[in-house]
Subunit: 416 residues, 2 copies
């Protein structure tokens, strides 16, 4: 079979499963998710063996990438726990909302329905395979999974285990469609299948985002980078501000919602920055400060222009003293990536203005940007954080994996 | 200036206006819309003169296309009325919804905000220029308008009039950006500007849809064709069914929500079809029937396989007698375009099943598919009917021209 036929066969398989999945009762989906979780745990040895094959082939990867690629018994248990949590979430499919009677007597509302077929193109972490498959299943969507070639054995093993368990529990064939051919041309072909695939979600680095944007004929919801700021206002509770700023940078610096730049009002910088910078440096953070920061804390590295707007994804932080909230908001508008932005202030009019005027997927008052997360926001599990402005912006849960249809209950209404 | 620089200059102009537009107070937007409406009426002579230039150049167009292109005093008044109606609609921007307190005490909700910059690529009707500009303005978006070359003088004149009036009323420059260069390559370049444009809405025929899908790096919401069915069930009130079926086909056959195929349960076909077909034929409808229809009404044209699934956009109707609702739903799934589908029945369990199982942007019980429309559905004005499955499906009003951001009100919450 040539590559084009292979891709169309895979996409057709998912497309064929989609209408059956859309009508699958909630209890069948939940039972399947629980069976899949059990199967992951009972096949631990197979999964670890497959993962070893990937790890042996992974000689050229960085230590961080190898860590992301590695499966352990603990990580397998976490995957299984994730599936059980998805089973416990409410089923969004079939929910009716916004029903209202029109002047001509007909009732119009909307019903939540699956999107159809969702293609996930992702790199490294094999747990994405189980996470994405479970969220798509629960929301009634068929999924086409295209993982990175470096994790192909691990991903294939996970799909085999969950597909078999799901199949026995009544999930139609094709519901979880896996692209096991690592040929790079496959991704290009996959992104042209707008007749079969309704949405593409890429998860990975900038190269992947650029590739998918360029090649896709299918709508794309990106999970792109986060250059997140925290602005500490003159009116901030400085103790609270210190906790928030420390948490936003240090708790897990490699994530898209970690703070990359700290902006501090000049009125409190002299009091606020020296102890915080000392605490950062003790924690191993490379602090890169503007000239005014360097005067207050001479131990910092001088910030270069390129530090503003950089997603370090590491224990590196750029710090700038600003003359007021306007300058902070201008900095955010210029260098931010519209991901997660925070203000620390006790002044209500400033917090309201910040909420209203800052353009980002999530805007925080007096809280750590690290809280931008589907679970923290009450969406249940999340498929990721969308940086696209349409359909779903910010943390995406089960509901964001659905669409709606209008439903109309009439009694003979006509168009005049 | 070369074409690429020209397109980037235009896109930059819109992108620069977007943040100002996003924060524009409702009363400024409304006053601008009313001023634009007045200006259209007071510049009637200029608009008609510009339209004459297009009409003189339009020697190769069909009579229907020339009709769509033609401006009249009545049509100019209708455009102005449309702008006044948009001014009267509630402003979706800034609405806060879904606010809830999380276990850690922070409050999380969402605020409705503009999408940013919306590109509208459209054919023929010059009224789209004013309609689209007004809806984008009211929803706080900058718009880039790319009309068809056949209407370029009319569109340019409309944009000139509304931009001047809007500018005087406080609308930032670039809010309504018009591409006055008719070079076809411009559209290709425009569709690559994902750094500046957040959403593309194409309005036109299949060729335009295919072109935009192929070329765009920007998310696209299509307004594609409608192959709409009405299924008349054995339990239908036949008088109601006849009114609905007649209305759905005849009231305005050239629209995407007009019925193209009628499916009739075999139990009532002998009673229902002959008088309805006679009425259709009196109204000039070319009825194309399946063999069983032809037995009941020998005057029909025999339907060819290609008639099923065709969007006639004309006084042509395909009619098929089906053995039951399952066969009707199979027909719809096979030949429909997931636009607008209707059932006529007095049986509640069948209507509920039809609502749940039929996959379309709007599903109707006992009403004409022609009612699929933003105004009829209570959305106010509409930018069109989306056939894309994400962001907005079916009739799109002002709310569907917005996105949201998460807003978080904390008191020092951290990620543990």
């Amino acid at each position: 079979m040539n590559l084009a036929d292979y891709v169309i066969a895979k996409a057709t398989q998912a497309k064929t499963a989609a209408p059956q999945l859309a009508l699958l009762p909630t209890d069948v989906k939940n039972a399947a998710l629980l069976a899949m979780a059990d199967a992951l745990e009972s096949h631990e040895a197979d999964l670890l063996k497959a993962n070893q094959l990937d790890l042996h082939a992974a000689v050229e990867l960085s230590p961080a990438a190898i860590d992301r690629l590695t499966l352990t018994p603990k990580r397998i248990t976490e995957m299984a726990t994730g599936l059980r949590e998805v089973a416990a979430l409410p089923d969004p499919v079939g929910q009716v909302f916004g029903m209202a009677r029109r002047p001509n007597g007909m009732q119009v509302g909307r019903m939540r329905v699956p999107i159809g077929v969702i293609g996930i193109i992702y790199e490294s972490r094999p747990n994405v395979t189980a996470d994405a498959a479970s969220l798509c299943l629960k929301s009634g969507n068929a999924v086409v999974l295209r993982g990175g070639s470096e994790a192909i054995q691990s991903n294939a093993a996970i799909v085999k285990v969950i597909s078999e368990a799901g199949g026995k529990a009544g999930i139609p064939e094709g519901a979880i469609t896996f692209i096991e051919n690592p040929d790079r041309q496959i991704s290009v072909l996959l992104l042209k299948q707008d007749k079969y695939i309704d949405l593409i979600i890429p998860r990975g680095g900038e190269g992947l985002m650029e590739f998918v944007t360029k090649e896709s004929r299918i709508p794309v919801i990106k999970h792109d980078k986060g250059v997140c700021h925290t602005y500490v206002d003159a009116s901030a509770d400085l103790e609270m501000a210190e906790s928030i700023c420390f948490n936003a940078k240090v708790q897990r610096p490699g994530t898209c919602n970690a703070m990359e730049t700290l902006l501090v009002h000049e009125g409190i910088a002299h009091k606020f920055l020296p102890p915080l910078i000392a605490r950062y440096q003790e924690a191993g953070v490379d602090v890169r400060g503007c000239p005014r920061t360097a005067i207050l804390a001479p131990s910092v590295t001088p910030a270069k222009e390129s530090d503003w707007g950089t997603e370090f994804l590491d224990l590196v932080l750029a710090v700038r003293v600003v003359k007021d909230m306007n300058q902070a908001m201008e900095h955010i508008a210029r260098y931010g990536s519209q991901h997660s932005e925070a203000i620390v202030t006790q002044d209500d009019s400033r917090s309201l203005r910040f909420l209203r005027e800052v353009d980002a997927a999530a805007v925080f008052v007096n809280a750590s940007t690290r809280l931008h997360d589907g679970y923290q926001f009450g969406l249940g599990a999340e498929i990721g954080i969308s940086t696209t402005r349409i359909h779903a912006r910010g943390a995406m849960g089960l509901e964001e994996l659905t669409t709606s249809k209008f439903i109309v209950l009439g009694s003979g209404q006509l168009r005049e």
